[in-house]
């Protein structure tokens, strides 16, 4: 009896392992996913390892070496205070990436259940939730984020909260409309006929079917959240100087747009690549997550 049990479990474990292995293979076999990962992985990696690999202290000023050209001691050049741009860009990713992932994560954590509940339950709950979210949606996103940060005070955590508040209604809307489409399917009615709980129907039956729009929305939101974060820092409401941040760097570089090229180029490049990588990864994951794409499509 016991051996039978372990036998079963080990086959189950094997099956799970195979599933994971196949899943990873598919992610890498998808060209968009692969390129997205190829762009994001080095950025994330070097940002995490910034303290180890950065050649200089990002806040250390080098008098007499202002606006140094790339090469030599300062690989990517220096800024108006003679700080090493490479180190600042590497360190700057920390706040930008944390901001992007945390804000997108928080807005998903709130937006997905809200959208599911609103779409599946319908009726007054739907009306109430959606009108509330519409109110938030009617305020331009940057303005809303500014307002919240202005109320809460400027800090990284408050910036995350502000951006999460801005994006929650958008995610909830996407989730709700996908939910409405899936809700009509007969397998939902079959689950209701079995007497399944509403929570199970939302998370066990509907959620797996709307994962792809959620993941795409989420990954695009990461990119946009980094952009809004950068805008906040640009306006001086996000990360506080002298802590490096891509948005803040671009903001300062604007004053020196005509005297030096690379000052604004590096943070913009890093920021652009991150957003681009997130979007590619999101698009690719959408394909990979659809089980129907696994087998060859019939004509």
């Amino acid at each position: 009896m016991g051996s039978q049990h372990t036998g079963r479990r080990s086959t189950a474990e094997n099956a799970l392992r195979d599933r994971l292995k196949n899943g990873l293979c598919e992610v890498f076999a998808n060209r968009r996913c692969a390129i997205g990962i190829a762009i994001l992985a080095p950025i994330v990696f070097t940002t995490v390892l910034a303290p180890v690999i950065a050649p200089h202290n990002p806040t250390e000023t080098h008098m007499g070496a202002q606006f140094a050209a790339p090469g030599g001691e300062f690989l990517l050049g220096t800024d108006h205070l003679g700080r090493d741009l490479l180190s600042r860009v590497l360190y700057g990713g920390r706040s930008s990436l944390v901001l992007g992932f945390a804000a997108a994560g928080v807005s998903m954590l709130v937006g997905v259940p809200l959208g599911l509940a609103s779409g599946y339950l319908g009726g007054r709950i739907d009306e109430g939730v959606m009108r509330l979210l519409d109110m938030l949606l009617s305020i331009p996103s940057l303005l809303l984020a500014l307002l919240i940060v202005a109320l809460l005070g400027s800090s990284l955590l408050n910036a995350v909260l502000a951006i999460a508040v801005v994006y929650t209604p958008r995610i909830a809307r996407v989730v709700r409309s996908s939910t409405l489409a899936v809700k009509q399917e007969e397998f939902i009615k079959a689950a209701e006929a079995r007497g399944e709980s509403r929570v199970y129907i939302c998370f066990g039956e509907i959620l797996p079917n709307i994962l792809s729009p959620i993941i795409v929305e989420g990954s695009i939101r990461i990119g946009f959240a980094i952009l809004i974060g950068a805008s906040l820092s640009f306006l001086g409401l996000g990360t506080q100087p002298p802590t490096p941040d891509w948005g803040y760097m671009i903001s300062i570089a604007r004053d020196h747009l005509w005297s030096t090229t690379w000052y604004w180029l590096w943070p913009s490049l890093w920021l652009g690549l991150t957003v681009f990588g997130c979007n590619l990864l999101g698009d690719g994951l959408q394909d990979v997550l659809d089980p129907q794409s696994h087998v060859s499509k019939r004509p």
Binding site: H5, R8, A15, E185, E186, F187, K189, A190, E192, A193, R194, G195, E196, G204, E205, P208, N209, L211, P291, Q292, V295, S296, K297, R298, P299
Partner: protein, 695 residues
């Protein structure tokens, strides 16, 4: 090559369309697949050809190939298609466009998606007219009314002003046909024109197709999976299987003396209304295009196959070259098949569940109503829309172990009633008792028990399984919620369920899209039986399936009913299916039951006028019978504003005047010839119901 020369010599006077050993190939990630192989056909002006095949037989590909309108990854790899002797390949893009618009017309499969939902149907038709002719707006408008009249749309001006969603399925199909006719085509290709329509509507659309052929001499190619549609509409028939022609000839040759085992099998699978014989199914399943067997493509499912069937490709053999049409078959054992044909079995008396009338019914519904869009307080004071009365005061009871069939046209409320009975939909009023307990009083564990005991199987197998979850996981979930079994027992139960519905344990690891329609429906049935239900609502369980597998599913349901001692409410729009799988029948119209009784009593006179119309609308397999159909005028009235008095009086062929308008008839007992009583809601007396119209 020699074949082609031969045919050119033979056809002195050119036929309208000439297809010579056509092969169509699709590029897929796994390499090339040949969706059609060695298809030859020739059609003269004014001929009607019916092409029949199961899903996956390549019939839609053939339609698209005839229009040279294949998908991007498809191409014609050998053979040719000629119109009036000109190869379609040699035409320039402009010539091809002109040909498609003016000479060939195609009516696509699903009227719901083929019409633009954002434009009025009149605009859509005039746009087509102006695209292909140089008519002025005024002339196009006139042509529009002419066309709508041709397709027998009564109020043309009104209909032209409607949006597609405001029209019924039958009307949408007519509009599409009108659009196809807008440029007087020589050839009209209809792809499944009646699939998804009610029998009554199907009958009128088929009559229209026949009329078009007779009055305008339009050549018609009708593609369908339902052989009975061809029998009374076409002159010639072609049976397609896995991309090859199995048999071709005149309709009477193919239907009355089929020579190919596949044709015989298909014919035996069609449910019959005027025949006591049951339906069989064709064993096995259509091979996937990527794995077409060597030799005869049908050998694996064939009762006559021998080793030499599988060695070399089989050529078409002439069976009867001198008949009304060349009768040819692709079988090397056709003589054996003719001498010992596959025929539907004579029905053995249906084993009926143990029912005794004095026992209390398993389920009893009294005065059940379901209204949608019930007006809110605001609607009421502003005089808004009245509610949609989907189910309007229905009394129904289901005995233990019996199958009660519920039939009616779409929109009559039969699915709504089914959903109300298992409490998936909350009813507006009325009382339902199950096992003697009032449903409204069930709480906690009693309610869970009701859920295990009363289950439902839906119509569309593709949407009733969660596409993102494996079959095994879905069944496991059902077993978990519907039974108290422990962990290991649950897993065994899943395997047992799969076994009971004729699937094996390897299916558990698959996703729904890897299964055929029939297999999916088996899984959906297994899921409903997870908790040993006493009562299952079957909502059109075979309507979405190929004819060849319908019988299989019906057999399975019958077996499960005996094994699990279950009662069914079998909802169907198809009386032919119901005839072989029910003990009692209830006929529903506009939310009300108009006739109910034992199967024999409902299928024999006296009939309710509506039942009589439904019965007469069913197409028959025999090409010679030309039974007069009772044409029902117009569509089912809106359930938002049902007619006063008898709900059927607006369309009733036996309307007797004011009494029908004013007074709602009650279900009253009526005796049949064998002394069997059943209930009919009609003002006519039993004698009047009996005679009048011949069936």
């Amino acid at each position: 090559m020699s074949k082609r020369n031969h045919s050119v010599v033979r056809d002195e006077e050119e036929s309208l369309i000439e297809v010579e050993s056509l092969t169509v190939t699709y590029d897929t990630p796994d390499g090339d697949v040949h969706a059609l192989r060695d298809i030859s056909l020739s059609l003269d002006r004014g001929e009607t050809l019916g092409i029949a095949g199961e899903s996956g037989s390549g019939k839609s590909t053939l339609a698209l190939a005839l229009l040279d309108y294949l998908d991007e990854n498809g191409r014609i790899t050998s053979g040719s298609i000629r119109y009036d002797g000109r190869r379609i390949h040699d035409l320039s893009a402009d010539e091809l466009r002109a040909l498609r618009g003016n000479r060939l017309a195609h009516v696509p499969q699903d009227p719901n998606t083929a019409l633009n939902p954002a434009l009025r149907v009149g605009e859509q038709i005039t746009e087509t007219i102006r695209e292909h002719t140089d008519k002025t707006t005024r002339a196009a408008q006139e042509r529009l009314y002419e066309l709508l009249e041709t397709v027998q749309i009564g109020d043309a001006a009104y209909t032209a002003d409607q949006y597609p969603h405001e029209l019924s399925g039958g009307m949408q199909q007519r509009v599409l046909i009108a659009m196809a006719l807008s440029c007087d085509p020589d050839l009209l290709i209809l792809d499944e024109p009646t699939t998804g329509l009610d029998v009554t509507t199907q009958a009128t659309v088929l009559d229209l197709v026949r009329d078009l052929n007779e009055s305008f001499n339009t050549t018609i190619v009708l593609i369908t999976h339902d052989l009975s549609v061809i029998a009374n509409t076409c002159e010639r028939a072609m049976i397609l299987y896995a991309g090859e022609v199995m048999e071709t000839g005149s309709v009477s040759q193919v239907f009355n003396s089929p020579t190919h085992p596949y044709t015989q099998g298909l014919l035996a699978a069609v449910p019959r209304i005027r025949d006591e014989r049951t339906m069989n199914s064709v064993p096995g399943r259509t091979p996937a295009l990527a794995e077409i067997p060597e030799g005869c493509v049908f050998a694996d499912r064939c009762a006559f196959s021998t080793a030499d069937c599988r060695t070399a490709p089989i050529d078409m053999t002439a069976v009867d070259a001198d008949g009304e049409a060349p009768h040819r078959t692709r079988c090397c054992h056709w003589e054996d098949a003719v001498s010992d044909p596959i025929e539907p079995e004579t029905v053995s008396e249906r084993t009926r569940g143990e029912t005794s009338s004095d026992e209390s019914p398993l389920l009893n519904a009294s005065n059940v109503t379901k209204y949608f869009d019930t007006p809110t307080f605001l609607d009421r004071i502003s005089g808004g829309n009245p509610p949609v009365k989907a189910v309007d005061g229905v009394d129904l009871s289901v005995q233990r172990g019996e199958t009660l069939a519920l039939v009616g046209e779409s929109g009559c409320g039969k699915s709504t009633l089914g959903a109300c009975l298992v409490d998936v939909l909350e009813r507006t009023s009325g009382e339902i008792t199950f096992n003697g307990d009032r449903l409204a009083d069930l709480r906690g564990s009693a309610r869970d028990e009701f859920r295990s005991n009363a289950q439902i199987v839906f119509q569309n197998p593709h949407s009733s399984l969660n596409p993102r979850k494996r079959i095994g996981d879905q069944l496991h979930r059902a077993v978990t919620t519907l039974t108290d079994l422990d962990r290991t027992a649950r897993r065994d139960r899943v395997e047992e369920l799969l076994d009971h519905v004729g699937l094996d344990s390897t299916h558990a690891a698959r996703y729904p899209h890897e299964l055929s329609g029939g297999e999916k429906q088996r899984v959906a049935i297994a899921r409903a039986f997870a908790g040993n239900p006493a009562f299952v609502v079957l909502d059109e369980p075979v309507s979405a399936l190929d004819v060849s597998v319908q019988a299989n599913i019906l057999d399975l349901l019958d077996r499960l009913r005996e094994e699990y001692d279950t009662s069914y409410l079998f909802i169907s729009h198809d009386l032919r299916v119901v005839k072989h799988s029910s003990d009692r029948v209830a006929v529903m119209y506009l939310g009300q039951i108009v006739e109910v009784g034992s199967r024999e009593s409902v299928f024999n006179p006296p009939y309710h006028p509506y039942t009589r119309a439904l019965l007469s609308a069913n197409p028959d397999l025999d090409p010679e019978t030309d039974a007069e159909r009772i044409q029902l005028d117009g569509d089912v009235p809106s359930a938002r504003d049902p007619p006063t008095g008898c709900p059927f009086h607006t369309r009733c062929p036996q309307y007797i005047g004011e009494k029908c308008d004013r007074q709602e008839p009650e279900l009253t007992p009526v005796e049949t010839a064998d002394g069997d009583t059943h209930h009919i809601a009609c003002h006519l007396s039993a004698d009047e119901l009996e005679d009048g119209l011949e069936l």
